[in-house]
């Protein structure tokens, strides 16, 4: 197989188009829309794993399109009306098919690699944590494109009708949509009784991935393995269809696809907690004294150490030996909709928290104190900041000595002080040990996510 054949094929096939269709709309999509892939620590330019996940999730529409383009390519011989002539040459059909699939695989992989490269260049500048754990996600993504295009080519050869490409693309699209919507999900109830859906085993046959919700989450090895098996079956079916000339051979060609699907379903994990797993190396803490962050965020440790130590010192002065002794980035990823678990011994925070992310220095100290005293009990995955800023403001004021509004709570300074001032003045008027008792009651309510911290602060339901 010499280079000239490849070059001719590159000029005459839809392969370059397929490459362009993968790269250009995908980049336009990522850059033109201001959506979740630009936000927080899970932005596609912030960390390696989210970058791989976001580019992979674009296969939602890239994959059906590539399948359709493959089918268009598969129709080419039929349209040229010279297939009989080609079969009369001594060159085996598999050589021609190999050149065609090879060049398609090459352009598709190059296009997807360029897409990943655009992300990688930016991630390189944004994070201090470089690892190779994200590579399988992208490699399986590229394999999905190649296998999809090969299957499309085979189907186009086997069913030479002008309707095949649109029908196949639409089928593939409906498949990804259904895997993402109803067929690929099971409905469950969270521990707090909120109905929600989680991905099931079948959804992993689809090229796309769940929305990235935590930079520490990655796909488990068994997912990669199962998907690879499924894709090899798909590619084999496509290739055999491309060279099969009898009806019986075409029927037999479907066997690898079915076998791959069955084998994949045996390998793929059925429990959502084993599909998206916490990347242990990424979650490993990096510490400077009592202040720890996960490895992914180690570039931000320096800015955090000073305010973190200061917050711990102030908390110790105010609470004595009941004060937390460390500041740690929260590295546990809870399932959607579960109640967060807070700790009495350490201040758990997240960089995606609006109170923490946008502030520095003294403001950061105050935000950490607020997090230590009254952490918020919003179920995981629900958007929301302080439902009531007053408990946090008063708690911080009690530790630092002056009442000032907090940044990033979603409430204006005036609203905060209007709500917090009466509570703060009532609290200040009390004797010292009564103040401490109320603060303890409030902390207990907040840390256990049971009861209303503000009511406890006012001395109401302080049980």
């Amino acid at each position: 197989m010499n280079l000239r054949v490849l070059r001719t094929e590159l000029r005459r096939s839809v392969a370059p188009w397929a490459g362009a269709v993968v790269l250009v709309p995908a980049l336009a999509f990522l850059y033109l829309l201001d959506a979740a892939w630009w936000r927080d620590t899970t932005a596609w330019t912030a960390q390696w794993t989210p970058m791989a996940m976001w580019t992979r999730s674009l296969l939602f529409y890239l994959w059906p399109l590539v399948v359709g383009l493959g089918a268009l390519q598969g129709l080419r011989d039929h349209r040229s009306k010279m297939y009989e002539l080609l079969t009369s040459t001594p060159r085996p059909a598999r050589h021609r098919a190999a050149v065609l699939t090879g060049i398609t695989a090459l352009t598709l992989t190059t296009a997807f690699a360029l897409l990943v490269l655009v992300g990688a260049v930016q991630v390189w500048g944004n994070t201090a944590y470089t690892h190779a754990g994200w590579l399988p996600i992208s490699l399986v993504g590229a394999l999905f494109l190649v296998a999809g295009a090969t299957l499309g080519m085979g189907a186009g050869r086997a069913l030479p009708s002008a309707l095949t490409p649109p029908a196949l693309a639409m089928t593939a699209f409906v498949f990804t949509v259904l895997m993402h919507a109803s067929l690929g999900r099971t409905e469950t109830l969270t521990s707090s009784g909120i109905p929600l859906t989680e991905p099931n085993q079948v959804s992993l046959l689809s090229p796309t991935v769940e929305e990235v919700r935590d930079a520490l989450l990655t796909l488990s090895a068994s997912v990669h393995l199962g998907q690879t098996v499924w894709l090899l079956g798909m590619a084999a079916t496509g290739f055999v269809l491309l060279i099969a000339s009898t009806r019986a051979a075409r029927l037999i060609a479907l066997a690898p696809l079915l076998a791959g699907g069955v084998a994949a379903l045996l390998v793929l994990p059925s429990d959502p907690a084993r599909m998206y797993v916490v990347d242990k190396a990424a979650a490993e803490p990096v510490c400077d004294g009592p202040v720890c962050v996960t490895t992914t965020q180690r570039a931000r440790l320096d800015g955090l150490v000073g305010p973190g130590k200061e917050a711990l010192r102030l908390l110790h002065t105010a609470l004595g030996n009941r004060a937390p002794v460390s500041v740690r980035e929260n590295a546990t990823v809870l399932p959607w909709g579960s109640t967060p678990r807070w700790s009495r011994d350490s201040v758990l925070f997240e960089f995606d928290d609006a109170m923490i992310s946008g502030v520095k220095g003294k403001e950061l100290t105050r935000a950490l104190i607020a997090q230590a005293m009254v952490p918020m009990c919003v179920p995981t995955g629900w958007n929301g900041t302080a439902a009531d800023p007053s408990a946090q403001s008063v708690a911080v004021a009690w530790v630092t000595g002056d009442l000032e509004p907090l940044a990033g709570t979603g409430y204006s300074a005036a609203e905060q002080s209007a709500a917090a001032r009466p509570v703060w003045q009532d609290l200040k008027a009390l004797p010292q040990d009564e103040q401490l008792a109320r603060i303890s009651a409030m902390r207990t309510a907040a840390l256990s996510c049971e009861g209303d911290p503000l009511a406890a602060l006012k001395g109401g339901a302080s049980r």
Binding site: F29, F60, L65, G68, S161, L163, P166, A167, A169, F173
Partner: protein, 195 residues
């Protein structure tokens, strides 16, 4: 009548009709079984748009004939015929969805169906005028996948971009569909399929 039969056959109308019917029934059955959260909830536009887009894509392959050069030798007025072809195809797609609504009850309203089928068919016609009947489906398909994947619209440009999923009666959606219908049909009627 004889002309119409021959024309329909050369434009692969029977195969397209079969594809439209199959896709409509499939999605309707899936909607009923896979049920988007049970009855009583808001109507999800997704399944209906999928049926309409599949219908428009199925008819797109018939927008160019077997031989463009041969078509051009026919001394007939192509412009009204091509326009009628697009509009009738759109009407058939809409009618098909309205018919299967009886199976999958949780599907879109008539206003929604009218707007989307018209807009999508216009888009297909535009695709045929720009790239030929073989490739005409790529245009509505790309737009459909964009609309599905894009976040919910907040600004007018985004509303225009996701017009096919907007609830009926939204000004941006109606106008985009109307413009697409007029421009697509006119372009195809005047210029014909490419090549």
């Amino acid at each position: 009548m004889r002309w119409l039969t021959l024309y329909a056959r050369s434009r692969r109308i029977p195969a397209s009709l079969a594809a439209v019917a199959v896709s409509a029934v499939t999605v309707a059955v899936l909607v009923r079984d896979g049920g988007g959260g049970g009855g009583g909830g808001p109507i999800e536009p997704g399944p209906s748009v999928l049926v309409l887009a599949a219908g428009a894509m199925a008819f797109s392959v018939g927008l160019s004939g077997q031989d463009a050069a041969l078509d051009r030798t026919a001394a007939i007025r192509w412009v009204p015929r091509r326009a009628a072809h697009v509009l009738v195809a759109g009407a058939v797609v809409a009618a098909m969805l309205l018919a299967v609504r009886t199976v999958g009850e949780n599907m879109a309203t008539a206003a929604f169906v009218a707007r989307d089928s018209a807009g999508l068919m216009g888009l297909v016609a535009l695709g045929a005028a720009l790239a030929g009947g073989q490739y005409a489906w790529t245009l509505p398909f790309a737009w459909l996948s964009f609309a599905f994947f894009a976040p919910p619209p907040t600004s007018t440009p985004m509303e225009v971009a996701t017009w096919m999923l907007l609830p009926p009666g939204t000004a941006a959606g109606t106008w985009t569909a109307l413009v697409l219908t007029v421009v697509g049909t006119a372009a195809y009627a005047v210029a014909g399929p490419r090549r």
